[in-house]
Symmetry: C2
Subunit: 120 residues, 2 copies
């Protein structure tokens, strides 16, 4: 699959709320996931580690709703934009998150995902 | 200036419609600009070449309106999202373009700009 085909199918799964299925289907075995934060989750390597981050996320947050926009494409990269209406269970704080996710495709798989978070 | 400060000021200039000023102020001398297309404008190097692309763009298009959203930040990169209501002079075709622009910052300057265009 070329980047446009991966982008279209990945985006369609996210728009249907199937984020975990998108990852399972398209993450490369050695996928790298880069978050805009310090600490142990800033950069994870490998499908198992990235899957674990997702499990941690779902266990610790209540998701009220998500919106996925895009994809946007250039060469072997595509971007999606996410709106997430979420409550952090520990604090009870409800947040409206907005992110741009940048995906790099290699051999029809997502070799890297990198999340940029809306400032201000 | 760190990436967040560059992102905030660059975004503010774009939101004020001052795209050329944003480039003049923040492009590195050896800035690389990558467009989602084939051909001679696919990858340009150097402030003069990138400035020339902008001049070509403004000479050949009528801009009816622009919207800038963001910035979104991770590490030394930030993204903006553009909506552009534009007519191509040659064809007379009016288009609604939507792009994600990804900027890589080095020493307080934009070392690379990469545009991803909305599919479909």
């Amino acid at each position: 699959m070329d980047t446009q085909a991966v982008a279209a199918e990945f985006a369609a799964l996210c728009k249907a709320g199937k984020f975990e299925e998108a990852g399972e289907r398209f993450w490369a075995e050695d996928v790298v996931s880069i978050e805009p934060m310090q600490g142990e989750m800033a950069e994870l390597r490998g499908k198992a580690a990235v899957r674990g981050k997702g499990e941690w996320w779902y266990a610790n947050h209540v998701i009220h709703g998500t919106e996925t926009h895009g994809p946007y494409v250039n060469g072997n990269q595509f971007a999606l934009r996410f709106h997430i209406d979420v409550t952090q269970k520990a604090s009870g704080q409800r947040m409206q998150m907005e992110e741009v996710a940048l995906y790099t495709v290699r051999d029809g798989k997502v070799a890297e995902e990198r999340f940029l978070v809306r400032m201000g």
